[in-house]
Symmetry: C2
Subunit: 289 residues, 2 copies
Amino acid sequence: MEKIGFVGLGIMGKPMALNLLKAGFEVIAFNRTKEKVEEIIKAGGKAANTPKEVAESSDIIITMVSDSPDVKDVILGEDGIIFGIIEGSVVIDMSTISPSVTRNIAEKLKEKNVEMLDAPVSGGDVGAINATLSIMVGGNLSTLERCRKVLEAMGKTITHCGTNGMGQTTKLCNQILVSVTNMAVAEAVLFAQKSGLEAHTMVEATKGGAAGSWQLANLGPKMVNEDYAPGFMIDLQQKDLRLVIEAAEEMHLPLPALTYVHQLYKSNQANGEGREGTQALYKSVKRLA
Amino acid sequence: MEKIGFVGLGIMGKPMALNLLKAGFEVIAFNRTKEKVEEIIKAGGKAANTPKEVAESSDIIITMVSDSPDVKDVILGEDGIIFGIIEGSVVIDMSTISPSVTRNIAEKLKEKNVEMLDAPVSGGDVGAINATLSIMVGGNLSTLERCRKVLEAMGKTITHCGTNGMGQTTKLCNQILVSVTNMAVAEAVLFAQKSGLEAHTMVEATKGGAAGSWQLANLGPKMVNEDYAPGFMIDLQQKDLRLVIEAAEEMHLPLPALTYVHQLYKSNQANGEGREGTQALYKSVKRLA
């Protein structure tokens, strides 16, 4: 069995690392706050003091941290993975970060004869716990095949999306779809409510046809019930939408609808609703009325 | 069997009337241009010279015309249904029109002891031909029950949405969902294409999760293939979106995303693409880039 290094034991990373242990892999883990490593040790894993140390004793190193600068930091920064890595190993970044930063890091690793995969996920903490994540992979297909068993220990659907950065690009497309479709649901629910139409009936009547979406079926009823408990938190969605907008800027690409939803989520954040679920977009749409 | 009057034998109305004949109902039909009645006569139906004449020999009169003024005209105008109608009959308007106009007409018919249902449909000409339409019904539930067999001859899913106008309101919610979700797909496909990501792969990777929608699964691949043959035509979508915006105006309700999509479809119309399918929204999104 290959030895897996794991850097970043947050709400997503910890259950993913535990699933690797469950699947029989050796796991050596690093996390900035040390307490989170305890659970990995209890489950049979080992702890390292730096990302460099993780790399020194791993065949495949997974990073699962918050944002582009964090990935740069744990791979290229002081005591970073790149300073301990063994030629021929693979780095898999499963964070959601900038496609162009991803390509830069992949080039730096290439100089050390190390292949990188970008493999961001969707499916949330529930998917991380149940090992049912969707994993969108950028990088060499042969490298993906080498790592497939590892990815299969954490996810259900594994799609090869193209070269380095294309996993991240696919994830950002996913976030465009999720956000603007959510907007469709929010405006339809508001129109129904203001018209005196029972909005649950509207959702039931429309969700099976051309109007149907995951967002409508799952978030529509929550909007109607004013249930704003987070499935996916607005603050996290905003970080992903910032990545979309930055990538679009790099390409000089206007995305008016996505940008508008980003602004409405800012209204949520300004009103102290950043830790509510994305369905609270409905509150911002209502604030306009 | 009840006698059914049918006014409006367009691309939707004709197959619906034929399905009523197939189900064993007597049908007497009127259409402004006479040739279209021929097929109804061949199939065993009768022709009338005016909507009034249709009403004189029908228990239930269905109207399926283009827009609010047309429905007003065939029901309340010269030689209209209201001048021939028998007390106790029912008028079912299956056109997509204004909810408030619907309520006005229903009140006028009530004065004659005639109940009205608004019963707009979704599912397009294919649904009309195969009798698989979704029918969204506003009006008394008892009136709906009286007419259920008639509606079942034309559609598969029949939902009681509330009082008069609520069928129309549900249909307009459906069009908000369809249009803004379509926008989500157009921006995601464009982002993918500009990024050099194979957009079919993106659609496949995202459509099964929280990003998924009918629009993504069905129109996404058409955008990627630049296949703009109409499933549902932009010119028709625009008429429905005008109804949404008018109804929103009456309620002083801002719908920024829906209004923006309406503007982009105007760009399609301005560029001679009004008779293309709604997936040609992608062309307008591309024109911005």
